[in-house]
Symmetry: C2
Subunit: 242 residues, 2 copies
Amino acid sequence: MSAVAPVFSPLYLQIKAQLTRSLQSGQWKPGEAIPSEMELAVLFKVSQGTVRKAIDELATENLLVRRQGRGTFVATHAEERTQYRFLRLTADDGQAHRLQRRLLDCRRERPVAEMARALGMKASESVVRVRRLLLQLDEPVVLDHIYLPGLMFKGLNAELLNDHVGPMYRLFESEFGVRMIRAEEKIRAVAADATQAQLLGVVVGTPLLLVERLSFTYGDRPVELRRGYYRTDQYHYRNELM
Amino acid sequence: MSAVAPVFSPLYLQIKAQLTRSLQSGQWKPGEAIPSEMELAVLFKVSQGTVRKAIDELATENLLVRRQGRGTFVATHAEERTQYRFLRLTADDGQAHRLQRRLLDCRRERPVAEMARALGMKASESVVRVRRLLLQLDEPVVLDHIYLPGLMFKGLNAELLNDHVGPMYRLFESEFGVRMIRAEEKIRAVAADATQAQLLGVVVGTPLLLVERLSFTYGDRPVELRRGYYRTDQYHYRNELM
DNA sequence: GAGTGGTCTAGACCACCAC
DNA sequence: TGGTGGTCTAGACCACTCA
């Protein structure tokens, strides 16, 4: 009789969506604790187990971090543990050296159509283009070209980037309120051109990994396009298939 | 007073371990249903919820597949859904064509020390080496070198490989009782040598992705080493970072 | 309709952490 | 010692599948 098919959505998914909205709105900031499971249960008028299931999923998606005995916290790129969470490059000998960062330049430019589309920008909006090197023991390993929507990253410049210590995603989080949640990468093998070869200290034509990364913030909104050229003579991109 | 620190292990993890042993021993075969949650709860003398949590984890690890209303089944590579689960290569235009397989050769040889170690073999045991191409629309895309422990894959030969339809991992499952659970990949950019160039239809020196995959079966036992040379002129390796 | 997995509850107790 | 997340239980009802 009923004309409308009822959309079945479990309670815990509705609560998960509500929690996601709170994160997205900035009600709870990266690093802060969210209310306890019991408090949320009372607030949403459900049992603790239902809240728990919602939080469980957000924790496996790396939006929240649970700490037994202390509480549940909004995930952040500021912690040692989660630094370089998105960088899959590893030394062949397994050693985990610290990476140095060297800024090359930072400027604003017109986006090409394809990039504007990928980032969900109007063609009239400018993009910030950052170029930088990652080095290990003073040897260049990665050349990054980073593209960001100009309006969202108003005020981003070379000075800010140089003064900041720690990963770039931490700067984005603290200065611009943009937190990277997940990313998609497309990987290809390419030959180094003259510029890339010079910056990475290899001969022209050397095979490089080209890693094109599109990063998303809350609500699956794309906010960064990054082209990384990786040397793989003493390093490799590691991946786990499950 | 007690001299021994008690090792705390939640019930559901003990049950998960027990279920894993049953899978490993072949008590339940790929594609078959395992007992229902209630039956297992009675068997292990715990509540249904505890069994559920153990099965939940095995399902997220792709060892089991839950189907509402039907039961819980042992995962298999035989299904359409899970074919090429480990192949991350995608056409740039997003089209999902069917891949053709072309066997090049299959022979037994002495493993080099490094390979014997990776596969956990004695140096005296031989390895089976399979070379094959993957093609899309008659154009070569991937050149695979596949190395398998000789004793585990006794009887594997070119005829068997040629007669078999479907993915290789399905053959391994049905003929040799070896099911691939997960894999680790190391990815590099290399220049095509003469042989690779000829087989893949590119000029010598063309940058190729070298994807070195180590696959594991139950109990984290390595059982396959695979070196794949991927063309990435019209394809890319896709990855999701979370 | 019988049987399966999926959701939800209410309450108990345990492990861990900070004060 | 009190509060947090982590485990476990027993039971209810819902959604889905298949005979």
